[in-house]
Assembly symmetry: C2
Homo-oligomer: 334 residues x 2
């Protein structure tokens, strides 16, 4: 099955490039609400499922024991851009568990935010693992280990008790098997499992509604999602699509990008979960897709839908700042 | 027509993302040697045709008048990574014409080379137009204007005499009309014209062989292509695919990337030109495609073909530097 073109890249009036993809919109019972393309094919969710991966942090009692509020919980679900607030919050999370960045096994890279990279270089600094976009998630993992009395060393590896807890949460929420034959290694060194988009969509409908999760897990899931919606900057960073989308409707839209063009999202008031992947892995296209889908699903709120449609069209600028093209939803998504 | 998948992105043993595209291999007479996908559809060549756009610099006599050697000519055909040698060479080209970076109308951006960006920031500096990856091409444009007595102000605009010269050279070499209805604006503010891939492939076969160009243009074309092959670093930058590919067979392979997943290339000894585009605009995939095509076309040279096949498979590393996947040619290209 060839997925349809969902995003067009225009230069002047000519389509210069195009992005294909698949989109699943499901409810908590696993019923199809809307689908485009092949949503049964297993895809790696990458960072788009960090909120599910953070369930053990709350369920273990670690989040309460260390006094984590919305900012820390949002950072545990984040792909952040390495700005000073992200770095300092991750550092303070680790400090609560008596640890520092040496315990992080995610590796390091320069901040995703260009201004933060320039500022770090200007100060004579260099990045460490706290600047890694996954440092909040890893700090959450380490806090879970410390609070639960699990030796944290090697916590990124498949087979470590922490990763078993994470995988079990993923299986329970999505309802999909997470087998070794569908396992790869993520950029931050933890296991990632390829599962159908429709399972992720169902899972995020459950995260948003609490349905079919059991009382304790439902409470933890909603606490995490509402923390993310309350602190979109901690979840992403200055000018990021996730921040922009969640700020458009505070408390009403949850979105999370994942590498290689993935998005998971939820609209609590509609009881819907969304998962999508751009076939070619382009995040620029996945950002257009998620804005376009949200605009369709929230069409009844005219003002919000208009803002989301606006965000679904992004200008392409020359190096002189003049608009020379744009990314926009294709007909299949329009 | 749906173009085939030409590049697969693997994570572990699972195909995580895939890139479609089209490839044209033509000779100077415009005969098809090998084709994949739709090569008749107009595509913007972007920076992949800089060597053709540099013909007026040589043909006008400006290159000789200012004493430009291989390094300056290669930079005039370059998408460089803003390393100090690139910046200084562009500056010296402009100085020969009595100009400085103020005359450049390409806009500025931080260097493509991350180390150069960090060094520039550490030194307290900020980028100017010399750091723009197109500054060599624009310096060549300005030198052409100055030597030819053309007022240079506004040289980037369609309708300026310099851009007419560039468009005329493009039309003559590719044999394809460059009409206003197929014109867009490139990132560096000059016009770019959407033309079939097969026309670009034919054009680069002509650039490499000199056939069907006339004696003077043939000489200028070969001088430019050989300058690029002699100075692959000036054409691109440290660790760039173009530098790697041209260093694999000095003087035998010409390649040039263009934004949105384009490559133009030539193999002089076979009299062939190549043009390709990744449908979704991913340069990471276009790099795999061009290495894969070159390996096929040069299969008779076993050692070189093996090196090109090696370059056609690129590892994907975790942030800890461990291989977790790879980009590789798909069956249609394998």
């Amino acid at each position: 099955m060839t997925n349809p073109v969902l995003v067009e890249v225009l230069r002047g009036s000519i389509v210069e490039s195009a992005h294909r993809g698949a989109i699943a919109v499901y409810d908590a019972a696993g019923r199809t609400v809307w689908e485009i393309g092949d949503t049964a094919k297993p895809v790696f969710p990458r960072s788009a499922v960090k909120a599910i991966q953070a369930l053990p942090l709350v369920e273990s009692g670690a989040a309460d024991a260390y006094g984590f509020g919305n900012r820390e919980l949002a950072l545990a679900c984040a792909s952040h851009s390495g700005e000073p607030e992200h770095v300092e919050t991750a550092r303070s999370m680790l400090a609560k568990a008596g640890l520092d960045e040496v315990a992080l096994e995610c590796g390091s890279h320069w901040p995703g935010n260009h201004g933060a990279t320039v500022a770090l270089a200007r100060s004579g600094g260099a990045p460490n693992a706290l600047h890694n976009n996954c440092s909040g998630k890893h700090s959450g993992f380490l806090c879970t280990c410390c609070h639960s009395g699990i030796a944290h060393r090697g916590y990124v590896a498949a087979g470590h008790k922490l990763q078993d807890m994470v995988r079990d949460a993923m299986e329970a929420v999505t309802g999909a098997a997470h087998g070794v034959d569908h396992c790869g290694t993520d950029g931050c060194s933890i296991p990632t499992y390829a599962v159908p988009l429709r399972s992720f969509a169902t899972g995020f409908a459950r995260m948003a509604t609490g349905e079919r999760l059991g009382a304790e897990r439902a409470k933890a899931a909603q606490r995490l999602l509402w923390a993310c919606m309350a602190e979109p900057f901690m979840m992403s960073g200055t000018g990021c699509a996730d921040e922009r989308l969640m700020k458009a409707a505070p408390g009403r839209i949850f979105v999370k990008m994942g590498a290689e063009g993935v998005y998971c999202a939820a609209i609590p008031e509609l009881g819907l979960g969304i998962a999508l992947k751009c076939d070619d892995g382009a995040i620029r296209a996945a950002e257009i897709m998620i804005a376009g889908v949200l605009a369709k699903l929230l069409a009844k709120d005219g003002e919000l839908a208009a803002e989301l449609r606006r965000q679904a069209v992004q200008p392409i600028l020359s190096r002189n700042g003049v608009k020379v093209g744009e990314l926009r939803p294709a007909d299949a998504l329009g």
